[in-house]
Symmetry: C2
Subunit: 166 residues, 2 copies
């Protein structure tokens, strides 16, 4: 019995197990998950190879880069959609390495104002440049129209998911 062996044997993933009987929503979710996983894994690998860092560290620095005045721990937690304890751990690391700093928050002595240091800003800017090229490269196969439509529809997914959860 000869193997079918099509040109591009699709490597199995979670979607592979989806069956006709499955609800459309389930299939959509599995595909969404697979897409994210595919891109995320590549980004993690490259961050590690190129900059010896991790996605959570990159993400946290990314938020601080966009808010030069700094963010509170709680705000970082919301932006990154992770728990506060997690933010504590990553900020601890980056602070030890001199990439971020905890400044006093005069208005509230419970809180910190976390900011990138000069070294943090310089380092992040370098990583961000490459990162953007990686992402653009991964999605370069989409037409401009597909980009726009995917962006719009994911906006819908985001909105209806948020509304469904309340």
């Amino acid at each position: 019995m000869e193997q079918p062996a099509p040109r591009a044997a699709p490597s199995p993933d979670r979607e592979t197990a989806a069956r006709d009987g499955d609800h459309h929503a389930l299939r959509l979710w599995l595909r969404l998950f697979t897409c994210t996983q595919l891109i995320e894994r590549r980004v993690r690998a490259r961050l590690r190879e190129r900059f010896d860092t991790t996605l959570p560290r990159f993400d946290l620095m990314s938020q601080l880069f966009r808010y030069p005045a700094g963010l509170r721990m709680k705000e970082l937690s919301r932006h990154l959609m992770v728990t506060g304890g997690n933010v504590t751990g990553i900020v601890d690391q980056l602070e030890r390495e001199g990439l971020v700093e905890r400044a006093d928050e005069p208005a509230d002595r419970r809180a910190w104002r976390v900011r990138l240091t000069r070294a943090g800003r310089r380092g992040f800017a370098e990583m961000a440049r490459e990162h953007e090229v990686w992402i653009a490269g991964l999605l370069a196969g989409l037409t401009r129209r597909e980009h726009a439509e995917a962006y719009r529809l994911l906006g819908r997914v985001k909105r209806v998911t948020l509304e469904a959860g309340s």
Copy 2:
């Protein structure tokens, strides 16, 4: 000063920090990531509340459910897109709890044939029914057309990403 407090104050996430200058691809990626995160977090929480289990355990059982003859550890690793060591750990757990079993693979003494036990099948079937309802509920706000279009476009994303990575 009254708070603006719009009807639905958008809670900040990674996307919030995206700026006009950012490449379309980057914005698309951030939105994709956010959507996945939103759904994934809810599913994890419900699996924990309702069945005292985790997404990785559910995913692994899900694959075995679709392949009644069982899968090798390596195949599970490919399907779930995780490393082999990870599969070892989760199968160990589920085996201790009597939900899966490692059967000998006559054709290759290095390998196992991992299968759901009767209890595993029963347990998974119950979880899967609810799981599908959760997902359908989260995405219920999409029209049939939006569903189909999102599914198609994510198929494109998956394909171009895979091709870009080779």
